[in-house]
């Protein structure tokens, strides 16, 4: 996905790719732990989605800056992992403090997911992908947003289905996580229909 000039349709394709074709969760396997924990109810899923969209869209560009203006300048790119995770952890901590002070109502709805988002592989993974795919600044922002959107989409679909599991007669050994994983696989299979739509 190395390009010099990005047209608007390129950005649209990037969004389609991030959300549907290469869904960060179902195809790229990032973000599974909170996926199974938070998708039991719709309201927790929606809270987590907004949290991830906000954090990822901000940390994607921030880590891009850290990589290009700090690590590359001093030739310590091998410390990328450390620098990125520190940046993400600090950012999330800062956001949590601000939200707690500015809007307790928002903190109730969203704040409890923020510590969970710090160790969400989808955040760090997308930051890595931004570097691996050699994106410029604007594509980084768009790709981060698209990945978060894809995560949210998969999460909300999953929550909608799992709420109905409450009434289904599932054998005891398959309840909870097991059937959740199988369902995730089947949802992922349906996302395969989008393959070939974009790179």
């Amino acid at each position: 996905m190395e390009q010099e000039v990005w047209t608007f349709s390129d950005y649209i394709m990037l969004v389609v790719s991030g959300v549907l074709v290469n869904n960060i969760l179902l195809i790229r396997f990032l973000g599974n732990c909170p996926f199974l924990g938070v998708s039991k109810k719709m309201d927790t899923a929606v809270g987590m989605t907004f949290g991830v969209i906000f954090v990822l869209t901000c940390t994607g560009p921030i880590t891009w800056f850290v990589e290009h203006y700090l690590l590359e300048k001093f030739d310590i790119v091998y410390l990328e992992t450390l620098a990125f995770i520190l940046t993400i952890a600090v950012f999330v901590q800062l956001v949590e403090m601000v939200i707690k002070k500015v809007s307790p109502a928002l903190y109730r709805g969203l704040g409890i997911y923020l510590p969970l988002i710090t160790t969400n592989c989808c955040i760090l993974g997308t930051c890595f992908y931004n570097i691996r795919f050699k994106f410029g600044f604007m594509p980084t922002v768009v790709f981060s947003f698209a990945s978060a959107l894809g995560f949210g989409l998969a999460l909300i679909i999953m929550a909608g289905i799992r709420e109905r599991f409450h009434y289904a007669r599932i054998p005891k050994c398959f309840q909870d996580t097991s059937i959740g994983l199988i369902t995730a696989g089947l949802i992922g299979l349906s996302f395969f229909a989008f393959a070939g739509l974009a790179k």
Binding site: L26, I27, R28, F29, L30, G31, N32, C33, L36, Y78, L79, E80, T81, L82, I85, L86, A89, V90, T118, T119, N120, C121, I123, L124, G125, F128, Y129, R132, P171, K172, C173, F174, T177, S178, I179, G180, L181, I182, T183, A184, G185, L186, G188, L189, F192
Partner: protein, 200 residues
């Protein structure tokens, strides 16, 4: 040093609290890195190394780290060992490094090292933390390898890149793809629960 306790901490990671089946943690590499047995085994060993080293270091430093900043400190310790693993695999096991891709650096946000640091290493002596890390890591490696064997043998028809199925065998390509990983892990988890409930 209590020998029986040492054995207990080591063996619990191998069956009773085996990640990712009993302790549902560390699912991302379980799904992503098990397309072939080499990848699954390799990822398991990488994680074992990080887990053991970070458990030891955090256990050594447990009296020194202040409680308010313990999570960032744990993250920094785990990240250090992850970078070491990343550089070693890049230098000596290049094909494994290319196959595992971003999942090696993602060990830093894997719930297993951080979870064990928080729950165990920060509260127990070094020798028990080592046993715990080793047990969990080896248990994780076994789980990953088991899943990878299933996915490679039936999904590709090979075992460690040698064809072992009969010539007319049509592999279940589904198992090699991401949805197949989810379904396969889900079924294995269900079967493990069945075996586990039978034990009770």
């Amino acid at each position: 040093m209590d020998g029986s306790r040492l054995v207990k901490e080591f063996t619990k990671g191998l069956w009773k609290e085996i990640p990712p089946f009993r302790f549902v943690l560390g699912l991302c590499p379980t799904l992503a890195c098990t397309t072939t047995v080499r990848d699954g085994f390799g990822m398991g060993l990488c994680l074992t190394f990080v887990l053991v080293c970070s458990n030891i270091l955090i256990s050594l430093l447990r009296k020194v780290i202040p409680s308010q900043v313990r999570i960032p400190c744990f993250i920094v310790v785990v990240a250090t060992f992850v970078i070491i693993v990343e550089l070693v695999t890049q230098a000596y096991f290049y094909s494994l490094y290319m196959a595992l891709g971003i999942f090696i650096p993602l060990i830093v946000v894997n719930c297993i090292p951080l979870g064990r640091a928080e729950a165990f290493a920060s509260k127990n002596e070094v020798i028990y933390s080592l046993a715990d890390g080793l047990g969990m890591g080896l248990g994780f490696t076994c789980s990953l390898t088991a899943l990878a064997i299933f996915r490679e043998v039936f999904g590709k028809g090979t075992f460690l890149y040698h064809h072992i199925m009969w010539s007319g065998f049509e592999p279940f390509a589904f198992l090699q793809k991401p949805p197949g990983a989810f379904v396969c892990l889900g079924l294995m988890l269900g079967i493990m629960n069945l075996i586990g409930s039978g034990e009770k």
